[in-house]
Amino acid sequence: MRLHRLKTLRVGVSVVFFTLIALLFLDFRNMVAPSIAGGVLYLQFVPSLLQLVSTAALGAAGCIVIVILTVLFGRVYCSTLCPLGTLQDVIGFVARKKRRRRAFQFSEPHNVLRYAILALTVLLLIAGSGFLLNLLDPFSSFGRIFANLIRPVVLLVNNVAAVTLEQLGMYTLPRVRWAAFASVSVGISLATLMLVVWLAATRGRMYCNTICPVGTLLGLLAKISMLRIGIDPGACKGCKLCEDACKAGCIDSRKKTVDVGRCVGCYNCFAACPKDGMRFENRWRRRVSAVQPDRERRNFLLNSGVFLLGLLGVEEPTKMIVQSKPTTIPVRVTCPVSPPGSGSIAHFTATCTACHLCVSACPSRVLVPSIFEFGLQGVMQPRMNFHTGHCNYDCTICMDVCPSGAILPLTVEEKKLTQLGVAKFIKENCVVYTDNTVCGACSEHCPTKAVDMVPYPNPANKKLKIPEMKPDYCIGCGGCEHACPTKPYKAIYVDGNPVHKLAKKPMVKKIEIKVDDNEDFPF
């Protein structure tokens, strides 16, 4: 059987998935992302697994499909569906084009390291911390690289093009605002990208076979898979071309063996072999020899030290204060605010893989990567930051795109009654109190009028109104906090609900002022 074409097929499928997934993170005008995200990301292993575990919804069982595929055909996920895998292929392709084409060679697996990482990831997950999983999940790493590093470049190109067109009097291309700078996420994304570039450029798919817990897990499954790549000893002339082509370094042409646990299913060996010596073997009929003994060569965790670089830096520098009287009372936030649909901080932090797709898609820019607001284990998981925006009342885009079920879908009507937190008013910081001038920006933005304006007797004897909170109606959208103009401390802020609550339906007041259609003009 001629299987040369398999590689072409694999490349085609991987390019399609890579392009679509990249598009999701770069679609800054939300033209397609909200409608296609569910379908495109259905087969992403870690988000799907977390969604399955947390919601037991079989509709979210893309990971089961991957498990079945792997048990039948090996790690097809790693070379077709995994965007980080395809990214490494692209990097490797470019790197080898640039330099003299260097052949791959068989290498021993770093078993201690890879199984240690997998075990630690699983143990932490069982203990309730997705920290390592989120850090290492290839889809989420890819997402963070695109959301935090590539997206700004795309925005820059867009904005340069927009400004250029404006010089010609054309406003067809709108400028796009930058996202809030998230130092830790940018740092970790950069460290991940550097590691991936280095490994992919020099060592093929070593990242997938040493660091990636998904690769290691699927590798274990691949070891018992039905169809496995093998070398036909009758056809093989020992030319080593298959080994030269194997970026996973799993073909030992001397022994004529393939380590299927590390084979990423790229099928390059089929294309490379001039004698059709590569074949699929149905191994459910006979046993294979055990893998080679472990030998640790390098401590890749050293590279992870680079991750810590990201912890440096400051976010949200306080702007210059322009106001007659700076506010004095600091806000006291007892709980961060998790996105609508996440139900509770506990569910959210246990299920979110920090892929930052919601951060990319959020049209209000209210979702930003956290630092330690959710604790160390929740690092980089998005939180609602009302300094950068407020949650748009009728918007459900984050729920439409979340692949892991951390943000579960709500109808617009449900969302409008979901209380993420409650706004707290600090009268002493309020412009109306400090300056005896009119404000009300908070009430202006409040979609439910949980922030109402009530008459305020004042020393200046002016006709003033001051905010009054009706907490039952507050949904914690942060419109008030975002709009509040006082500095450095806001006069109104949202304190998160650890478990989201149900808000009361906004009151429908009867209109007091009568309008008669037939009346004359009042002037």
């Binding site: 406003y171 009119v438 404000c439 007091e512 002022i513």
Partner: protein, 306 residues
Amino acid sequence: MDRRDFIKKVIGTGIVAGSTVAFGDFAKVFAAADASPVAYDLVAVKGGEPEVMFDRAIASLGGIEEFVPRGSKVLVKPNIGWDVTPDRAGNTHPKLVARIVEHCLNAGAKEVSVFDHTCDPWMQCYKNSGIERAVKDAGGRIVSGDSEGYYHKVAVPNGKRLTETKVHELLLEADVFINVPVLKHHSSSMVTIGMKNLMGVVWDRGYWHRNDLHQCIADFASYRKPTLTVVDAYNVMMQNGPRGVSAGDVVPMKSLIVSRDFVAADAAAAKLFGTEPDDIPHIQLAAEMNLGRIDLSALSINRIKL
């Protein structure tokens, strides 16, 4: 009411009505004779669809050609502040905006731009207000106001609290500036009409809020007088403004006010809303700064009922 009072009123009304008829008719004849209509200070229309009312109002002011020279750059500034549908009356009615754009283009305007610095996310506001579609269909161009890069620092020489601010470049480039606010209740400024709508052409609104909002509104009104102010009072949000909570906040008023004098336009709209212009501090302040006339009784007003 006693008898004397009654008689006084009857006579008074008779004089006003009589002179209106007399001079009104005379004026019309005169206007027809040399093809230039009476220079009304303000036109108020009632009882029609937004676009029909605008047609009537602008015709009575001599047509949009009076305001839009051939080849001019026009900025039409509606209120697109909120991500709500037209029935909620949180934004200017899309049909009105479209009709104004059409009139300007028909008069030979080089380009007609529409934008707002929105409160909710701009793309959702533009789309769900119906204004983006309406403007595009009318042949105008809809432009983003969502990036600080569009805004350039200008001085407000007559400002008391607001002495400089960043203004959208389309306003700086425009030869003709048509302000098209929607009349609404407002939690901060009591009502929002024309002057308040100008907050949507600047970048930093927070500064206004923390530095005496009413004074800043009046200050900025002194920066550039709109060529024309067209107040949309077709559907009017009477409470819970400026965003509104439900369609229950809205009353159909089917009215429109057009004036060169933005203070007069705001004063007339405030009256429609049921408040006295003097009670709205920024209208009062603008009048004190001699930016326009707040006393409607001194104006020649064309009242049209359809």
